[in-house]
């Protein structure tokens, strides 16, 4: 189990509040702790439009990577043309190194169920799905059990709380490649088709699952919804950065002593977040942080004062992504690291479009030439050009994001990259073919 890092007293805990309960499936205990208060309040006090208005005030944004305002998404779906709507909770957690969503689904299955139910109530969906990565067997089991128990208690299912509204939730394990985390791909998976993204617009809120208006939200986003409705929009809006309020659950891993996940107010400086995971491993020096998971930007120590918020991260060439923050010390070669990430992204790309099928492969090859000592003099120019072209012509967010690791090396670690390109040496001593080549030729 991923450890929940202790955060300073006074930091609000919205999503991770009930973590560590002896039996996460104990409905009575969960209800005593406030579970389904939000759903009841949404149904009895606010109504569908009132609930969406409340979320708008709270300023909640999607935690799946796009940081899109949740209220706008729900509103678009609720007002889209169509008689049948769906809500899909994205519990796929594509990033293989991240466990935030799994922790939530296992530790607070009722928070996920409640969030889906509130979304379904707000947009008018009868059938909703929680799509969970099939490898997360325990999360699937607990969510199924939670749905069954909540239904038996009349909190969801037919005629919810005597309103005459039906809210059915189905837990669907989905299995496949990295791309399944992307929303249109996830919908394809649920429809039984090959996992390739769709052109947008139309957005899923207009044409989603089986062509019907669909809300796709990260389970972590939905995990906060119950709390927000129960405690009021103002309480949430007061947390963290006033422009984009709330908390975010991040995972800090890599060369730190206590890797784990933590709920932090948005806008917390990266330095402080990294500090939650303890000291650097055995006295090593921090060299870089990868912010955003496998498509993350590689930032040098001097950017550690950047607040963890979508806009600020974009400015420094990183992104929220999967919520993962990987810490590297001076033993890591950033060129090697970026190449590894890019190769993974290229291999996981779906193959639908040229930037995806060929662009990413060529990009990974540039990195591979650098780490193997076969770089060409114009590779930095090619890297910058190709990345720009991929970003401009990409069909889905994956290709755009996949250019981040290498372009951030170009931006922040140019001297180290140049050592590889011009002198065939690896300052960190990681890239072996390069080091070998230098032993023979240089000095």
């Amino acid at each position: 189990m991923t450890t929940l890092l202790s955060t300073p007293a006074g930091w609000p805990r919205v999503v991770t509040a009930g973590f560590g309960a002896p039996d996460p499936l104990d409905l009575d205990a969960a209800v005593a702790g406030g579970a389904f208060d939000g759903l009841k309040k949404a149904i009895r006090t606010h109504g569908p439009t009132g609930t969406i208005a409340l979320l708008r005030v709270s300023g909640l944004r999607g935690r799946g990577g796009g940081s899109y305002p949740t209220a706008e998404k729900w509103h678009a779906c609720a007002t889209a043309e169509g008689s049948v709507r769906h809500v899909v909770a994205n519990g796929y957690e594509a990033d293989p190194a991240t466990h935030v969503a799994r922790a939530l689904m296992e530790e607070r299955p009722y928070a996920v169920v409640e969030g889906v139910a509130i979304a379904a109530f707000a947009v008018g969906a009868t059938e909703s799905y929680v799509a969970v990565r099939a490898e997360y067997g325990e999360a699937v089991r607990r969510l199924r059990e939670a749905v069954a128990r909540a239904e038996a208690a009349g909190l969801i299912g037919a005629n919810v709380l005597g309103t005459g509204r039906d809210i059915f939730i189905e837990v669907r394990p989905v299995r496949g490649a990295y791309m399944l985390g992307e929303e249109t791909v996830l919908l394809k998976g649920l429809e039984g088709k090959r996992g390739q993204p769709e052109q947008r617009p139309p957005y899923p809120t207009e044409k989603g699952l089986w062509g019907r208006p669909t809300v796709v939200n990260d389970v972590v986003t939905l995990g906060a919804v119950g709390w927000i409705v129960a405690n009021g929009a103002e309480a949430y809006a007061a947390i963290g950065d006033p422009a984009t309020p709330g908390t975010v659950v991040v995972q800090v891993a890599g060369a730190v002593e206590e890797p784990g996940i933590a709920e932090v107010p948005i806008g917390t400086p990266l330095r402080e977040i990294v500090g939650l995971a303890g000291k650097m491993a055995s006295g090593h020096r921090l060299k870089a942080v990868v912010v955003g998971g496998v498509t993350g930007g590689i930032l040098p120590p001097r950017e550690l004062d950047t607040p963890y918020a979508a806009a600020a991260l974009r400015d420094v060439g990183a992104h929220v992504g999967s919520g993962s923050i990987l810490v590297a010390d001076e033993r890591t070669c950033v060129v090697d690291l970026a190449t590894l990430l890019t190769r993974y992204c290229a291999d996981e790309a779906c193959g639908k479009t040229i930037p995806c099928r060929i662009g990413l492969r060529r990009l990974a090859e540039i990195g591979e030439r650098a780490v193997s000592g076969h770089a060409r003099p114009n590779d930095p120019i090619l890297l910058a050009d190709l990345s720009e072209d991929i970003v401009a012509s990409a069909l889905c967010g994956h290709e755009r994001a996949a250019t981040t690791p290498l372009t951030s090396v170009l931006r922040y670690f140019r001297p180290e990259l140049d050592e590889h390109l011009l002198r065939s040496t690896c300052p960190a001593g990681v890239c072996h073919p390069v080091a070998v080549a230098s032993a023979g030729s240089a000095t």
């Binding site: 490649a177 998976g189 039984g192 090959r194 590894l340 291999d347 072996h432």
Partner: protein, 224 residues
Amino acid sequence: MSRIPGMGIARGMTITLRRFFQPAVTIRYPEVDPGIPPRNRGRLQLLHDENGALKCETCFQCAQACPIECIDMGGVDTKGRYHIHWGPAETYGERRGESALRRSGRPVPDAAYAHFAPIDLAPLEAILARHDHDPARLLAMLEETQEAYGHLPVAALKHLSFRTAAPYALVYGTASYYRQFRFAPADDAGATDAGARRPTDAGFLAALDASLGTGPRAAGAGPA
């Protein structure tokens, strides 16, 4: 539609007669543009790149997109091998193997072609019935089919397509896209992940650990 019976035939015959007495013309195509409609693609042909390799990536997009399904890349030829309606099956097969290895980590050895053998359809029929023959449940049906037969026999895919009315290209496209499916029994050579070029998540995580120094820093660890 005319109100006078036989009028249509008369009009048709007039056109025939008029054409009959017109001189034959040869249009000097392609020097002279005969006025080809903009969406005409002519005969489908796979192109080669400057190295002589087929440009087709075997991505099955064309077969899946073709509205009238004239492109059936999963079709079976008289030799019992995969073929396409244009071009030699052998070159296509070569390229297909390479592409399958790169994209899914699964080689497609010729042994796989042997799996057209008829199968006992009873378990598959039970699966289909359980899912209402609903093509939207294709992924779940494929998983259960693999559980029932140990792999996805081609006969099962054909039957799935037939019974759900989902185009075969879609069934095959879906089955070949997801990594968990295999087309040969697990003990067959090539059916395992061994030697796969595509890194599994586990392989990637190990390399990541090595790169970050959080795991064994294997010599040469990094991009495989």
